[in-house]
C-alpha cells in the first residue's frame, strides 16, 4: 500500500495555469530565435562556429514542439485534476449521506444487529465474552465462527481479517459487503446493493474519514475492554485474547463500513484504480473468507 497521498488543490490549479505559461514561454523562445535568425546579417551567422546556426534552428523547432507538448500537458493535468475533484466530490456526497451513528451502533454491536443501541450491544457482548472459556474460544476458531457471532453476511470478514486495523481490513470488509453474501441489515450494505459502489474509487478523502472512524472505534473499544478487564481480572490471558479479538473486530468493522460506503471497486488509492472489482475483492479477501458461501456455511 502506498504512502498517504498529498493533494494540494491550490498547487494543482496553479500548475494548470502555469503549464500554459510554460508552453507560451517555450513558443516565445522559439519565436525569438527565429526572429533573430531572420533579421540579423546572415554573414555574421555564417561566421559562427560551423553548427551554431544549425543548432539555433534546431532549438527553435524543439521549443515549438515542447510548447505543443506543454499544451498537452496542461490539458492532461486539467483533465486529471477534474477527474480527481469529481471523484472526491462524489465520495464526499456519499459519505455525507451516511448515518455514521448507525454505523457506530452496528460496529459496537459487532454482530450486525440491525443498529441496536450501542449500550445494549456492549452489554450483550460483555456477557458473551465472559461466558466463553478458552476452550470454547478455540472451538469457535476452528469452526470459523470467530467474528461471526450472531451475524451473517459481509461484516464477518471484517471481524476475521480487519483486526489489524489496516486498510486491508477495510477493503475486505467492503468486499464482503459488496458481494452481498449475507442478510446484513447495515445501511452500507444496502448502499452497495443499490449500486452506489459502482461509481466510487477509494480516494484519500474517504480513507481519512475511515481513519477517523477507526480511531473513534479504537477509543470505544478501549473503554469496553477496560470494563472487560475489570470483570475478568481472574483470567488475564483469556481477557487479553478477547481484547485483541474485539479490537481487531472493531477496527476492521469501522474501517470496513466506511469503505463500503465508497466501495464497489474496493480501491482506496490510485494504485488500485485500474483493477476491476473482482480482482480487488480477491486481492484483499482473506483466504478463509474468500468465498461468501463458505462463510454462510
Amino acid at each position: 500500500m502506498s504512502e498517504l497521498k498529498k493533494y494540494d488543490d491550490n498547487f494543482l490549479s496553479e500548475s494548470i495555469s502555469n503549464s500554459s505559461t510554460i508552453g507560451s514561454n517555450a513558443d516565445s523562445i522559439s519565436s525569438d530565435i527565429q526572429h533573430f535568425l531572420h533579421s540579423v546579417d546572415p554573414r555574421v551567422l555564417g561566421y559562427f562556429d560551423a553548427d551554431v546556426t544549425t543548432k539555433l534552428n534546431q532549438y527553435s523547432t524543439t521549443m515549438e514542439n515542447d510548447s505543443d507538448n506543454m499544451q498537452h500537458f496542461g490539458q492532461w493535468l486539467n483533465d486529471t485534476y477534474d477527474d480527481y475533484v469529481q471523484t472526491v466530490t462524489k465520495v464526499k456526497e456519499i459519505a455525507n449521506s451516511m448515518d455514521f451513528n448507525k454505523v457506530d451502533s452496528t460496529i459496537n454491536g459487532v454482530h450486525g444487529t440491525e443498529g441496536k443501541p450501542k449500550e445494549e450491544e456492549e452489554k450483550k457482548e460483555e456477557e458473551e465474552v465472559l461466558v466463553l472459556t478458552p476452550e470454547e474460544e478455540e472451538e469457535r476458531k476452528r469452526k470459523g465462527l470467530i467474528g461471526r457471532r450472531g451475524s451473517d453476511g459481509g461484516e464477518q470478514n471484517a471481524f476475521a481479517e480487519g483486526g489489524n486495523g489496516s486498510i486491508g481490513g477495510l477493503q475486505n470488509n467492503a468486499a464482503s459487503i459488496s458481494r452481498g453474501s449475507g442478510n446484513n441489515t447495515g445501511s452500507y450494505a444496502s448502499l452497495v446493493g443499490l449500486g452506489v459502489a459502482s461509481v466510487l474509487e477509494g480516494v484519500g478523502a474517504l480513507v481519512e474519514e475511515a481513519k477517523e472512524k477507526k480511531e473513534a472505534q479504537e477509543r470505544m473499544a478501549d473503554e469496553t475492554l477496560v470494563e472487560e478487564e475489570k470483570k475478568s481480572s481472574n483470567d488475564k490471558d483469556d481477557s487479553k485474547e478477547k481484547e485483541e479479538k474485539n479490537d481487531n473486530v472493531l477496527l476492521g468493522m469501522g474501517i470496513g463500513l466506511a469503505a463500503a460506503a465508497a466501495a464497489g471497486k474496493f480501491v482506496l488509492s490510485d494504485d488500485d484504480k485500474d483493477e476491476d472489482e473482482e480482482k480487488a475483492i480477491q486481492k484483499y479477501m482473506p483466504q478463509d473468507f474468500s468465498n461468501s458461501d463458505e462463510n454462510k456455511a
Partner: protein
C-alpha cells in the same frame, strides 16, 4: 532589431557571396558587385544578439522554475494519476524535456562569444572598404583602357590651335598629339592651314582619351565628359570611404 530591410537591395544576391572569412582574407574577385555590398552593422547585430540572449535567459529562468515546481509538486502527490502511471510519466517527462532543451540552448548561447564576433565584424568592414576602393579604381582603369582609342561619335569640322601665343599655346602640342593628361580627345589630322599664329585643323577625327587619376572622382568626371558610361552604378555604391 529588424535588419531585413537593409538586405532588400538589389545587392542582396551578393551579400551572401561575400563571406566574412573570404573578405577578411582577401579572397574575393574584384568585380562590380563588390561595390554594392554593404558593410555589417555591428551595433545592430550586437544589439540583436544581446537582446536574444537576455530575453531567452530570463524566459528560461522563469520557465524552468515553474517546471521544477510542478514536477516536485506532482511527485509529492505520491499519486499514480498525477505522477506515476503511464500517461503521467509521459507528460511529466515531456515537461522535463523542455527544461533540458532550455538548458542546452543556454549552453549554446554560452558558446557564442560576443567579443569575438564584434572583432570579426570590425575586420570585415575594414577589409571590405579597402576592397571596394581597390576594385573601383581597377574598374575605372579597365574601362578607360577599353574606351581609349575608340573613335568618337561626334566629329568636328575644324579646330583652331594657337601654337605661338595665346591662352591655348601651352596646350598645343599636348592637345594636338593627345598626350596631355587632361584632354579627353585625340585629333587625327594634319595642319591644313596656318596664318602664322593660328593653325587650323580640318577634317577632324576625334578619339576618346581618358587619362585615369588616383582620384576616382576625377576619373569618373572624365568618363562623363567623353560620354562613356562608368563601369558601375555609382548610386548603388554604399559604405565606401573615398
Amino acid at each position: 532589431m529588424d535588419l531585413t530591410s537593409k538586405f532588400t537591395l538589389n545587392t542582396s544576391n551578393y551579400t551572401n557571396t561575400l563571406k566574412m572569412n573570404d573578405v577578411i582574407s582577401g579572397n574575393v574577385p574584384h568585380t562590380e558587385n563588390v561595390l554594392y555590398v554593404p558593410g555589417i552593422d555591428k551595433a545592430a547585430f550586437m544589439a540583436a544578439l544581446k537582446a536574444l540572449k537576455e530575453n531567452v535567459s530570463a524566459t528560461v529562468e522563469t520557465t524552468d522554475e515553474m517546471i521544477h515546481t510542478i514536477d516536485n509538486g506532482l511527485a509529492e502527490t505520491n499519486s499514480n494519476r498525477f505522477y506515476r502511471n503511464g500517461d503521467a510519466v509521459k507528460q511529466v517527462t515531456n515537461m522535463n524535456t523542455l527544461s533540458s532543451d532550455m538548458k542546452g540552448l543556454m549552453e549554446l548561447f554560452g558558446q557564442i562569444s560576443e567579443d569575438r564576433i564584434a572583432a570579426a565584424i570590425d575586420s570585415y568592414n575594414s577589409s571590405l572598404g579597402a576592397l571596394k576602393r581597390t576594385t573601383r579604381k581597377e574598374l575605372l582603369e579597365d574601362a578607360a583602357q577599353e574606351a581609349n582609342g575608340q573613335k568618337c561619335k561626334k566629329t568636328e569640322t575644324s579646330r583652331a590651335f594657337y601654337p605661338n601665343d595665346g591662352a591655348n599655346h601651352s596646350y598645343y602640342n599636348e592637345e594636338k598629339n593627345g598626350t596631355t593628361k587632361v584632354v579627353t580627345k585625340r585629333y587625327k589630322s594634319g595642319v591644313v592651314s596656318s596664318d602664322g599664329k593660328i593653325e587650323y585643323i580640318t577634317k577632324v577625327e576625334t578619339y576618346t582619351w581618358i587619362q585615369c587619376s588616383d582620384n576616382v572622382s576625377i576619373t569618373e568626371h572624365r568618363f562623363r565628359e567623353v560620354g562613356i558610361d562608368l563601369p558601375y552604378s555609382p548610386s548603388k555604391i554604399v559604405d565606401i570611404d573615398l
